[in-house]
Symmetry: C2
DNA sequence: GACAAACACGAGTGATCGCTCGCGTTTCCT
DNA sequence: AGGAAACGCGAGCGATCACTCGTGTTTGTC
């Protein structure tokens, strides 16, 4: 056999020292800055190394190529995001009235994207390598799925296609508003933008999920809900 | 005087033949395809020339550099869009009830972006050269301004900051939904997505501009409008 | 037909990018 | 202490890119 005597677990079971781990996070931080400033394609590996105050050779000791940097960075961000957001869809939150439910779901997502603007920069560009786009699509799909389940929970007798469309639209609206939030300067202006985004989602979803809106500020909301539960996703006349 | 005998109108009053004009549109069409497929930075001038079935030298006879291609393409798209959209904000449309007003404003924008997907690809990327970003910002600002004027028309006693925020949010929501519309396959699914996007905007803006919503499908909409015209942009409690 | 100018070509140029390689330094283990 | 391996360096390699240039072809004008 031509196999190595060691286990064939991973092709790169490289032994790292503490210094190396520090360098990796340092390089990923630098890469985040450069990706955020110039986008993926325009970001050069030499620029990343310079930003991290190391030589190009050092960079390539920890990453086999440029794509691997983005993949590792994207992977860590995904993991962080799943953690920060995983507790948003717990059953107890799912029983909350709509405004509180929106807070519980939207606030962690906004906070994460404010703290890691590179996430949107990496995921949004069509220039990103295919590997990342796949992971992002998976994360995106899992988020959409959770929203869809939540919608379906309030609309058990609605055709699945309608639930999917509502979930997709709610998420797309959120993403559009998220860009506005990130563009606003930190402080009261950003807070007001966040409140306005929640207002959009509230007014869109309130008639849809109906009975969860008892605490809504608009006193007439219940009238809308009571009027007709059949026009939920509104087939055009 | 060291001036040329001809008028100093433009530094490049190059005399073009019909063949040249055809080549220019042909090259811009090819550039649109390549930009749309790969983004601006990843699109090579050689690839554009190849797509147009001409040599790189021919390309550079009509455009001084790569950026000029994008600028000219962007400029033509801008012009086309201003024309297609200019008739959406005429005073007669401004007097329409909200659903029809929404149709009048949203439909041309969606149709344009469906017909010219390169527009979003060029304008949206942060990789685009500064020249285009400026023009896009100008167009963006003029659209927002029109929306703001429209909002302010319905809320004459509201602080200007609130009108701006509502206009910004409405436009951001539209952009988010637009991506969803473009991602949907042409046909009934896309139409349903468009209808859903209008539903979002309708439900968001209906309580804001109030009295214009008489023809809304929700019969209780007037109750919301009558309830209180002061919570329009909703200061959070 | 003859001349000039616009058009078309494609190999080639300099710059930049992703990435490598050889060699010196630091850290860990015994 | 001493050896092995991880760490760190930066000049430099091949590839690719935006762009040029010398040359040949087509078009408009007289």
């Amino acid at each position: 056999m031509s196999e190595k005597p060691e286990m064939p677990e991973d092709p790169k079971p490289r032994r790292r020292q503490a210094r190396g781990e520090r360098r990796i996070t340092q390089l990923l931080q630098a890469a985040a800055n450069v990706f955020c400033a110039n986008g993926y394609t325009a970001a050069s590996t030499n620029a990343i190394a310079r930003e991290a105050h190391v030589s190009p050779g050092t960079l390539y000791q920890y990453f086999p190529n440029k794509e691997a940097i983005a993949v590792e960075l994207g992977g860590r961000l995904m993991h962080e995001m799943r953690e920060a957001h995983g507790q948003a869809f717990t059953p107890e939150n799912l029983a909350l009235p709509l405004p509180e439910l929106l807070d519980a779901v939207v606030d962690p997502l906004i906070a994460f994207n404010c703290a890691n603007p590179v996430f949107l920069a990496l995921m949004h560009g069509s220039e990103t390598p295919g590997r990342i786009a796949e992971e992002h699509d998976a994360l995106h799909a899992s988020l959409i799925e959770r929203v869809r389940v939540l919608i379906a929970h309030y609309l058990p007798d609605s055709p699945p296609a309608d639930c999917v469309r509502v979930a997709d639209m709610a998420f797309a609206v959120f993403k559009g508003g998220l860009h506005l939030v990130l563009a606003a300067p930190e402080g009261p202006e950003r807070d007001a933008t966040i409140a306005e985004l929640k207002q959009v989602l509230l007014r869109y979803l309130d008639p849809v999920i109906g009975e969860g809106a008892l605490m809504a500020g608009a006193t007439a909301a219940r009238a809308v809900a009571a009027a007709d539960a059949g026009l939920t996703t509104s087939r055009n006349p």
